[in-house]
């Protein structure tokens, strides 16, 4: 009986749909405009829960946004594919002109197809995708258009995934872990969890646009020295006295830019970890708010995300190359050893070498790209950290925010000044290189607002 009933249903549904298929173009357009913001937020939520480290997070943001860009670009004649502009990215499959597509759907499907393979909680992406498709149907989209669009989105997504697969990420999973050195100037695992160093081989990841991981390698500013008259010691004393005399404002700044994705809390035998946004996640959030505030269309949003996330990803590759080349000591280790054995930094020291400051590098890189896009005097309110109960902060420009990031690492007691200052220079160079290298618009089409 049951099988006969369902058979009947199968016959009836297509007939019904065929008769009065709703397609609300205006509704779809309105809905789609914000979808890249929504999907980048989805990605952030999953990255937090899956507990990815900052460099890995930057990789996870970059590929889906490139896929989204590429699957949308065919709908916008003014925009170019980035295929020949990224290292190793071959020509993107082009849509079949005989079929009717709605590219915003292809773009989101390309995003989700790629994103799903880069994170752990694949079911969550499937859930988000099902919700997204249900919403489209609720608004009204012709079945055939929807199917064509999904198919193209998948195709572009697979193409990007095939490219991503060759970036060295998988291979680096099996490489030797970082070996702690006994030399006095080197990085040591730090309190409270003494975690192993994160991603010692991240410089073996294929850069997105840079020539090599060492393309913008900074010079180590101050030679290690433990004597109280040395420059190195003085730099440590700066951190030490800032932390000692920390005020509310500086404390707030340190926490606002902490962005440590996995912080432990310990009470006796009870230890628990709490997760929050990564540094690249913070800048994706800043980019999202600028996109929303300027009501960018979906293509321009895709363009913005692609530029920002590429700058973040190359920023990490560049920074990590220098970090493990110099393998330098953290303030926590230095100060405890040479200045005050009972010293604790404000923030938990992230588990990797000190120089240069990763957050400084990638913030400067992202800020450079965003400045290029939105201008040097773009004032904004960053409300990213309201989610964890911290107040908003106001900035007069992206560069001002990036500068504050550098300062925050010193206030937090996790970096010496040169790591932040030179890191910012390095990041700026990476950001500007991304801007010069990635041509999103065809000749004669302005890339600025």
């Amino acid at each position: 009986m049951k099988s006969i009933k369902s058979l009947l249903l199968l016959l009836v549904i297509p007939i019904l749909l065929g008769c009065e298929e709703k397609h609300d173009q205006a509704g779809l357009d309105k809905f789609s405009q914000s979808q890249l913001i929504v999907w980048n937020r989805h990605l952030s939520e999953i990255i937090i829960k899956d507990i990815f480290t900052p460099p890995v997070a930057s990789r996870i943001y970059s590929y889906p946004n490139i896929a989204a860009y590429e699957a949308l670009a065919p709908a916008y004649p003014a925009y170019k594919s980035l295929s020949s502009q990224y290292n190793g990215l071959s020509a993107i499959p082009q849509p079949d002109n005989t079929k009717e597509l709605y590219y915003p759907v292809s773009s989101i499907i390309a995003f989700s197809t790629v994103g799903k393979k880069l994170i752990l909680d694949e079911l969550k992406i499937e859930e988000y995708e099902a919700e997204y498709l249900a919403e489209l149907k609720k608004i009204g989209i012709r079945e055939e258009v929807l199917n064509n669009s999904i198919a193209y989105g998948r195709e572009v997504g697979e193409h990007i995934l095939a490219w991503a697969k060759k970036d060295g990420y998988v291979e680096t999973r099996a490489l030797t872990r970082h070996v702690v050195s006994a030399k006095p100037d080197t990085w040591q695992p730090t309190a409270p969890d003494y975690m192993p160093a994160v991603e010692p081989h991240w410089n073996k990841i294929r850069p997105f646009v840079m020539d090599s991981a060492a393309h913008f390698k900074p010079q180590l500013a101050t030679k290690f020295d433990s004597s109280a008259t040395s420059d190195f010691y003085k730099e440590a004393m700066e951190v030490y006295s800032i932390v000692k005399n920390i005020d509310e404002e500086k404390l707030l700044i340190a926490r606002f830019w902490d962005d440590n994705p996995n912080i432990s809390y310990t009470k006796g035998h009870v230890t628990y970890f709490q997760q929050k946004l990564t540094p690249p996640g913070h800048w994706v959030s800043i980019a999202s708010s600028a996109i929303r505030k300027n009501k960018l269309d979906m293509m321009e949003a895709a363009e913005t995300y692609v530029m920002v996330t590429t700058a973040l990803a190359d920023g990490f590759i560049s920074c990590w190359d220098a970090k493990y080349a110099y393998n330098s000591i953290r303030p926590d280790t230095y100060i405890e050893r040479y200045i005050d054995p009972d010293w604790d930094p404000i923030l938990q020291t992230p588990p990797f070498p000190e120089f240069p400051s990763g957050h400084s590098v990638i913030s400067a890189a992202a800020a450079s790209v965003l400045t290029h896009k939105f201008g040097d005097s773009y004032a904004f309110i960053d409300s990213t950290q309201m989610a964890i109960g911290l107040p908003v902060r106001k900035f007069n420009s992206f560069n001002e925010a990036a500068f504050e990031v550098g300062e925050s690492r010193i206030y937090g007691g996790i970096h010496f000044r040169p790591a932040c200052d030179l890191g910012a220079e390095q990041g700026k160079a990476v950001g500007n290189y991304v801007v010069s290298k990635l041509q999103t618009r065809k000749a004669g089409q302005t890339a600025k607002l």
């Binding site: 309190a191 035998h269 970890f273």
Partner: protein
Amino acid sequence: MFALFKVCPLYKVRAVSFAAILLLASCNNNQQEGQKEIAVETAAAPMLFESLSETETGISFSNTLTETETLNVLEFEYFYNGGGVAVGDFNNDGLQDIFFSGNMVPSRLYLNKGNLKFEDITKQAGINTSGRWASGVAVADINNDGYQDIYVCVTGKVNPQQRKNLLYINNQDNTFTEAAQQYGLADDSYSTHAALFDYDKDGDLDLYLLNHTLEEQNPNLLRPQLRNGSGKNTDKLYRNNGNNTFTNVSKEAGILVEGHGLGVAISDINQDGWPDVYVSNDYLSNDILYLNNGNGTFTDKAATYFKHQSQSAMGNDVADFNNDGLVDIITMDMLPEDNLRSKLMFGGMNYDRFMAEIKNGYVPQHMRNTLQLNNGDASFSEIGQLAGVHSTDWSWSPLLADFDNDGYKDLHITNGFPKDITNRDFIMYRMQGLNSNVPTEVLNKQFMKVIDQLPSAKKSNYMYRNQGDFTFSNQTKAWGLEVPSFSNGAAYADLDGDGDLDLVTNNINGKAFVYRNNAEKQIGNNFLRIKLQGDKANAAGNGTKVRLSREGKEQFQEYSPYRGFMSTVEPLLHFGLGKDSKIAAVEVTWPDGKVQRLENVKANQVLTLAHKDAVASKKPKQKAAAQLFQSANTKYKINYTHKEEPYIDFKVQPLLPHKYSQNGPSISVGDVNGDGLEDFYIGGAFKYPGRVFLQSKNGTFTSAAITDQTKFEEDMGSLLFDADGDGDLDLYVVSGGNEFPVNSPYFQDKLYKNDGKGNFTLDMQALPNTTSSGSFVTAADIDGDGDLDLFVGGRMRPQGYPAPAKSYILLNEGGKFRNATAQVCPALQKLGMLTAALWTDFDMTTQ
């Protein structure tokens, strides 16, 4: 690990069929045998222990804990440490009474009315600990009036006033008066337990106070252990002034090492006649072994006596479990027994942190129970895993006592924790979505929600039977003790006077367990119970040693009732005797050295030994028995230390069970220069040449490196054998290790030819290409041509554990060897990870 290859018999091997029995690292067969054995025992010993209900005993005590938003395991890390049990005869009627300490409920005192009936006299006795977080309980006649007093330790995250320890002085009429202040013992440290002992041998009992602290945010934060008395969690020593007052003498006595103390035991560990103190410490802090210097001071010798300790040590017991007359030490930790839970509870330890702890001066610590076997030479060997008692989950009290009266002390362990906070899933993921940047009240509400969701680790306590061979068998179920509970303090006592040890435990959120021991009916072994009658102000005889000798067997106990966790056991010494109805000799040695020896003592009695009957010992101080083996390095002039370059296998394969890059050195023995004296070769590690040791007529050795070139191979097994039939011993050295990638040239084995005088020259042409990371080589004539062929065992695929390694059959063709594995036995090419092989003619075909 040593691989010893004896060469001589190989000369005689002529034709042995190829039947290598390979000793792989598998113990399936042993396990099955072990199970069979247990099964037999089960049948022989049904339900030794019988749980008695509240209605039977009248004991209704439950250490009930009520979590609130401000008082819970997140706010107070020792919230679930529980309370103690103290046994003592408070009305001198010969029956052992019981005191339970309560954390959030008042402590209780139960009088033993006989026949395992008890009466709660807490109220009329004037004992009221409500409002205090009572932890450990020590019973002793502190004012020396012939009646037992009770010292109750107090802790908690409260103001110091509410943390003052309590001293209940016995008014000799079943009532007590609290007088800690008056006696100078109202200490407001965060106390876990106390032990009374006469450290200065002035005849009265002094008090060692075991402390922790709740003021430290993260007790696992890596820093050197404070050893100058400045730690808030430093223990204390109170000297008895002899006039019912005590003075804190911690500083001058050298009680200065900090530690989160969870266990204290008193014993003369180095057998110099002065009582020492063993302290087991939670968290990062190492355990302490305070040796009594005999001049009022102590020195911590833990670092030299122990190679490693339990990581988060909880309770301990110090007793001789192998009947060699030397006290051994067991400490508790948190390692679960089953695979799933042991992975879920995996501690936060990693290689770098482990090494950093050592760099900071810590003795290595591992998350498991440790059983330290006393070697009698100021050193201990840790055999917890060998003994089978290392994983009993979140454990508190170990008690070594002879529960089946067979002459060997068994092991009872309490465990359980109401909130499974070290579960990795909780640690990593349970706080997701929790917002820390909110007012404390809001945060506490969030915490409570998470705590409520946390599962518990409600496990059955463990009971291990001592098998008399250094191992224990789990009899929890067979002896009737398999009941899940959160048990903390525990004590044994013969509550019903039937000659066996009954058991009492203090449980969180559950009625206290009272177990009647039915050994007298079930097993019928004999026993001897000894009551001590000391002198002066130590009437209980703390520190007295009793030694039983019966037909070559020896049993030893030292009287100190503060054992396990927060508890005091019965004030007697209980010996099981098996089927013996007589003891050849009972020898008691009092703390002042006086000795009494009784011969042909009858079993099954309570024997009272009084100090007044003892006499000054005429025997000179017994020298420690000579060890079977003694170091002869100096005598034979073999001063060689094997060295390894640091290499961390775990950085390549983080899940390795242990390093494979340090499997050397190997040694092979033979007369290499034909002078009739045995010489030997020791293999060298990466960058260190192997050395040949030549014996001279006077028995001393001289050595020389086998090569003066820098060599990179890691020498594994070696073999001295006559490769080329010229009558002398040539040397085969297997190359192995884990430092090099697959197919590295450094896996090439080497054959050194002997010139007959013990001079070796590398024969580059003698061996085929070997690329396996090998482990050993063994010889036999497998093709019957009169020379020795070789089997070379492969240890591992380098950096690819546990993939099988290639092994080789090398046929001897006039001193040169040909790889014939594929023809002779292809299976050997991928056999496994070999560590040894044996040639044997198992089918007796003389082949």
